[in-house]
Amino acid sequence: MALKKYVAKLNDYYERLEQGKAHKFDPSHVAKVKQKLLAKEDQLINEIADADKPEKIERLQGKLAIARTQIERADWLLEAITGDDTPPEA
């Protein structure tokens, strides 16, 4: 389901782009966003390493999972706009 939503958003972007209602982005834009997400990932890893309470570790791991999902999607997006235009199967 998560993938479906991502694919739906990407298709919506392409439709809006065709209608002139979206701002076109290129790989450098995706790379910039990915850099920010990687910085967040590093921050969370350091926080987990410093944490001692199990609840805090669990919460931070949940956040890390989200950050990694976003990074993964950034990679998919890069593939979609640089080489293979076919989005991953939903």
Partner: protein, 613 residues
């Protein structure tokens, strides 16, 4: 009252002049057409704003020489030092350029404005200028009716220039005819008396017409017709230089303290230059004669020599003031002190920033941040928390648990003073911005900022509602009830800390995506609240009354959390729209959380390495 009296006096003098002399009508009409042309030029250049002008201005003020060069070039192109001064004051008030950059521009405008005299003396008087004016007017007016903003802008500029030329033509014709009827040269005065009186006349004429260009054109055309002596024309030009600062001073009334400083700098510079020119007028005249000989200007071409004089004394003025620039800045900062911030009043929204899309957006962005700061303070205090303690804490839950003391605040009064006032100003400002013809992308960001402000206020109001119970259940330990209320306080505190981290991050490194994590956590906890309470009631860990209070307050708490996150998401969205599109695609939705939890391992080693850039 005084303004009305001045207006009546001016109209009276005009009518008297028209009655006394038809040639005076032609001169007055020439001046009016010239001024109308300047207004059209101003409107034309404003249509180019929303990108080009602002990018040039913010880039051009990185150093004093660049600022000065910008002042020279922009004033030459726009033929209006007043317009450039007003733009500079707006940008300075909005915090887009520095004071020293602004002063550099003002120095440059004083040199750039002298090109007007060259245009008239070197071209306007020597050719049939109306022959150029007619086609410019015709083409310009056609373009003015186009739908494209840039074509309309070009139209206004062309038509404006056409009216300028036409105005010069009528002034020239008027003075030529006038000299046959009435010899104004009879009123020529020599010596210091003449210098002072004609300087004052030049100053007064510029104040009335609000244009040093118009005054210079009048002087040059009168000089060419022999209606004023060369010596008196020089004094008039010096007076015009002082009078032009009045426009900047008037613009500064609606500006913040930085704008006022710039207007004062303009006044100091022009008056100092005028004093130097008056004291050394004989020497400067000799210098002008020497330069004129050198470049081949005829000894009796007083119009061109006036243009040389105008340029020379302004360049001398810049040359004298430049080494004292930093001391001037210090003086300005001492005379017009930075006001103590009153957190309850808007700091960035003023009439001075109203004129240009970039200043409007920038000012609104800063004011929403101001509102956010006030709101976060009130939210923290409303929950009996201290922000600094939260930001420095290694264990937020523990910090919240130990924050039991009730902070003695009247949250309602503080909301009215520090949140509602700013919110009202933001709504007013953004609504008025909606009535201007702003570029769509900027308008979207303005409405988004307004929405961010609305969400911030929602968050504060939600905390107002829950403060009483949150305080009652946490100031002493009441077992499970205290624990669950502290849970809510902790969640809200974590969001405040995340927003603080976004603020603290290096510019350009923040991303609204960082708030996805908090948003998903809030969604998860909100969904589990009812089940959690049911379990506590069944186990006898809380009584039903406390449970209903908590359920009610948790609604407010989650509203506050969601509003804060949404406000932050809007506020920290990338200004660069292409990156904002990327962030939108990568945003995780609330209902994707379980799948994500199942997909990802909790291995703390990095899953990705940094890509090669």
């Amino acid at each position: 009252m005084i303004k009305k009296l001045i207006l009546i006096t001016i109209l009276g003098l005009l009518l008297a002049g028209f009655w006394a002399s038809p040639e005076f009508q032609e001169i007055a009409a020439g001046v009016a057409i010239f001024l109308f042309g300047m207004l059209m030029l101003e409107d034309g250049f404003k249509l180019f704003s929303g990108g080009i002008l602002e990018k040039m201005l913010t880039g051009a003020t990185r150093s004093v020489p660049r600022s000065m060069a910008f002042g020279v070039v922009s004033t030459t192109l726009m033929q209006s030092s007043s317009l450039v001064s007003v733009i500079t004051i707006s940008f300075l008030s909005a915090g887009l350029i520095s004071l020293i950059g602004g002063v550099g521009i003002i120095f440059g405008t004083n040199i750039g404005t002298t090109t007007g005299a060259w245009l008239v003396a070197g071209f306007g008087l020597k050719v049939n200028i109306s022959a150029f004016a007619m086609p410019m007017l015709a083409v310009g007016i056609v373009l003015v009716f186009q739908s494209s903003k840039y074509l309309r802008g070009i139209g206004y500029v062309l038509a404006g220039l056409g009216f300028l030329f036409l105005g010069i033509h009528y002034m020239k014709e008027g003075f030529d005819a006038f000299k046959d009827q009435f010899d104004m040269a009879r009123f020529a005065m020599t010596g210091w008396r003449g210098l002072i009186i004609y300087t004052l006349i030049g100053m007064a004429a510029t104040v009335v017409m609000q244009s040093s260009h118009a005054t210079l054109v009048l002087i040059i055309t009168a000089l060419a017709a022999g209606q004023v002596s060369y010596e008196n024309a020089l004094a008039l030009a010096i007076g015009a230089n002082i009078g032009t600062t009045v426009t900047a001073v008037i613009a500064a009334f609606s500006a913040n303290y930085q704008g006022k400083r710039l207007a004062l700098a303009h006044f100091i510079f022009n008056v100092s230059t005028a004093v130097v020119a008056l004291v050394f007028i004989a020497q400067i005249r000799d210098l002008v004669d020497w330069i004129s000989n050198g470049v081949g200007i005829a000894p009796d071409d007083f119009s061109l020599k006036l243009a040389v004089f105008h340029t020379v004394f302004n360049v001398i003025g810049v040359g004298i003031m430049l080494p004292w620039l930093h001391r001037l800045i210090t003086l300005l900062e001492r005379v017009i002190k930075t006001p103590m911030p009153d957190v309850s009043q808007p700091k960035y929204l003023s009439e001075a920033v109203d004129g240009f899309p970039e200043t409007i957006e920038n000012a609104l962005h800063k004011e929403v941040k101001h509102l956010q700061n006030n709101a976060i303070e009130l939210i923290a205090h409303g929950l009996n928390l201290h922000r600094q303690a939260l930001y420095e804490s290694q264990d937020i839950a523990d910090t919240v648990k130990r924050s039991q003391a009730t902070l003695d605040i009247d949250i309602g009064a503080r909301y009215d003073l520090r949140v509602k006032t700013l919110y009202a100003a933001i709504i007013d400002f953004s609504t008025r911005a909606g009535g201007k013809d702003l570029p769509p992308a900027i308008m979207t960001r303005i409405y988004n900022l307004r929405d961010s402000a609305t969400r911030i206020v929602e968050a504060v109001k939600a905390i107002k509602h829950m403060r009483r119970n949150a305080t009652a259940f946490t100031r002493v330990d009441k077992g499970k009830s205290t624990e669950i209320y502290n849970g809510l306080r902790t969640e809200i505190a974590r969001i405040l800390v995340e927003i603080h981290k976004l603020d603290d991050a290096a510019p350009g490194s923040q991303s609204a995506l960082w708030l996805d994590e908090e948003r998903i956590q809030v969604g998860r906890d909100k969904a589990n609240t009812a089940k959690m309470i049911e379990s506590l009631i069944r186990n006898g860990e809380i009584d039903p009354i406390a449970a209903t209070s908590f359920l009610n307050d948790s609604t407010y708490a989650y509203l506050a959390m969601e509003s804060l996150i949404e406000a932050g998401r809007i506020y920290y969205v990338e200004a660069e729209t292409a990156i904002a599109e990327v962030e939108h695609i990568l945003t995780i939705e609330d209902d994707e959380q379980d799948e994500i939890a199942a997909e990802h391992k909790t291995d703390i080693k990095p899953a990705h390495t940094a890509p090669d850039q």
